[in-house]
Subunit: 348 residues, 2 copies
DNA sequence: AAACCAACGGAAAAGCTTTTCCGTTGCAAA
DNA sequence: TTTGCAACGGAAAAGCTTTTCCGTTGGTTT
């Protein structure tokens, strides 16, 4: 695969390689006729400048590494697409890399990325709980944590605002007049679980609606858990007219169980899910009103910020930033209620 | 981010840069003591050879491009992971790139990948139907189509064996003694739909079981369609004791509807799904026996083959290869039946 | 003691582009 | 006609590594 070099273009156009370079980069003082001739030669030969040589010289590769400390899953995808979106317009390419949780493996990948002289790194994970800081092996490549965070000092972390999401859900439900609100969510050990609950509490407190602890339960992030938990409440719990679920999967289980028990959603019980996992939320009967963590936007934001850090070179690297991006309430049918709220409603 | 170069290591170790290179690549004739000294200096300074310079010289970047003509979705993920798996051990990194369906956009991406001198390209898409060949802009980079195909002459395409998958499903059902088998699947225009049906027919024909056309219906790839289609059969169709579904989503709809109509799965009706989309198949009540297209393996195979093409340089590039990789029957509970079959059963 | 060989490691080219610095060339001004 | 300037484009270095080809050095062989 012998590729055309700038030398051949130069020879073909009867100029020096420096001139070719100038033409192709719109630099220097050249006659229009010369530019045309060189361009024609380049076109004819199908010349494509070698980015390796170019980057070697410019000390910038227009390349970043995405290290996802977890398997690619439903959270990584919108994130990834957001990142691609933002980078694509800056003509920056992304190296994918999927280390396992094994730190040695991660290290090896970072090593390889650094050898390739990526301009920056984005770290993501499935869980939003703190992870050990990425070891950049003594270099000072800009790093940004997207939908991931670390306790490290100078780290910039972009997260979804789980507390705000919980608040949005709560406010929506009380706004619709619900007063006995159950909360069925994931394992207590997840920070997201605790924060979403805090947001819910804040919303209810603001409306003088009590949060009955007997109506709150934690368990796995699964449909089966949703069915089981709501079944228990129906069997032995106090009455309730709404359920805020920790995930759309849980919400789906809740909806299925309620329907099978003869209850109507949303008339008897309103449901708010979490994640806006389209394929689940839209297929549920009725389709789920849910909290959308806006991961696409989060990905875009992460990428833009990284780009800024790369350009700024010596940005505010020393200070730690944890930024929470707002979630969005996406109204479908599971709460009834106005299409007036739509998606415009954002957390503070 | 001034990085350490081989010169600094050389100075530090009191040798020439050539010697450093030899040490780090285990080449040449050097005293053990020298090797040690150089290694120590490199370690001390945290030297990391610049892959740009290295690749420039070696004419090999250990980098490939993954162009996914479709959004990253549930099919791309296992594929991607398989690819990563195979490439990781060869220490090859992958550039992600997600052109839209716009050919100009795709072209721009390929352009950029070629400028980065990727050693090869993998093309994937969500649908398995033929796509236009990837324009490699006059170069001869090895290209492989994974879970995608093109009519182009010298193309190598790796696909899942849909016909074989349909056959597996059919054989499993007749093996369990089912004789009135319905088929609810996706839109007719998908090649996969037609091929899976052909496989089903072959299996039934082999067992002298008729395929009643009144029991076959096509529609969207959705749960709702599964519910609707099976509902219609219950209302107005001939009796049936099994349903082979075109996707797990459809199968889930079928299972939900049957249960709600008071029928037992698998006692009254057995169900086989398609895709082994874990999160759906395992959450269905009962968990779905399904056809697993083995996309992880397909990804691995695609990557290994690409690697071989890269190494072989002038491989069998001129001939067209379309390879169908076998699917696997994954037994859960929706057909009852033996755990004896398990996953060992593969298409011919 | 002369000749030779093995072991060791240095010098330099190659790989491809960008960019700075200068040298020409042609024309206008004095 | 000479001087000067602007426009144009070439030469060469820089960016970093790998690899080939040689030159030294010290010891062995006869």
């Amino acid at each position: 695969m012998r590729l055309v070099t700038i030398h051949e273009v130069a020879r073909n156009a009867g100029v020096s390689i420096g001139t070719v370079s100038k033409v192709l980069n719109n630099q220097g003082q050249l006659r229009a006729e010369t530019r045309l001739r060189v361009r024609a030669a380049a076109e004819l030969l199908g010349f494509r400048p070698n980015d390796l040589a170019r980057s070697l010289h410019r000390k910038r590769t227009f390349t970043i590494g995405l290290v996802s400390s977890d398997r690619f899953g439903r959270f990584s995808i919108p994130l990834l697409e957001g990142i691609e979106d933002a980078l694509d317009s800056a003509r920056v390419a992304v190296f994918l890399c999927k280390p396992t949780d094994d730190p040695a493996h991660e290290r090896r990948h970072v090593e390889s990325l650094l050898a390739k002289r990526v301009d920056g790194l984005i770290v993501t994970s499935r869980r939003t709980d703190p992870r050990p800081p990425l070891d950049t092996l003594g270099t000072s490549v800009p790093v940004i944590y997207a939908y991931a965070q670390t306790a490290g000092a100078g780290a910039t972390c972009l997260l979804a605002d789980d507390e705000g999401g919980g608040y949005l859900a709560g406010r929506h439900l009380v706004g619709l007049g619900r007063t006995r609100i159950a909360h069925i969510t994931g394992p207590e050990r997840f920070a997201a679980v605790r924060e979403r609950r805090a947001g819910l509490s804040r919303a209810l407190a603001g409306a003088q609606v009590p949060l009955d602890p007997r109506l709150a339960s934690t368990g796995p992030w699964s449909e089966a858990w949703g069915r089981e938990a709501v079944g228990r409440l129906l069997d032995a719990g106090p009455p309730f007219d709404a359920v805020f679920c920790g995930s759309d999967q849980i919400a789906r289980g809740v909806a299925d169980c309620l329907r099978e028990r003869g209850l109507n959603v949303p008339d008897d019980v309103a449901i708010v899910g979490y994640d806006n996992w389209e394929i689940v939320a839209a297929a549920t009967r009725p389709p789920l009103t849910t909290i959308d963590p806006c991961l696409h936007e989060l990905g875009q934001a992460a990428a833009s910020r990284l780009l800024a850090m790369i350009d700024g070179d010596h940005g505010p690297a020393a200070t730690r930033h944890v930024v929470r991006l707002p979630c969005r309430l996406l109204v479908r049918a599971s709460c009834g209620g106005g299409s007036s709220l739509k998606t415009a409603d954002r957390a503070a």
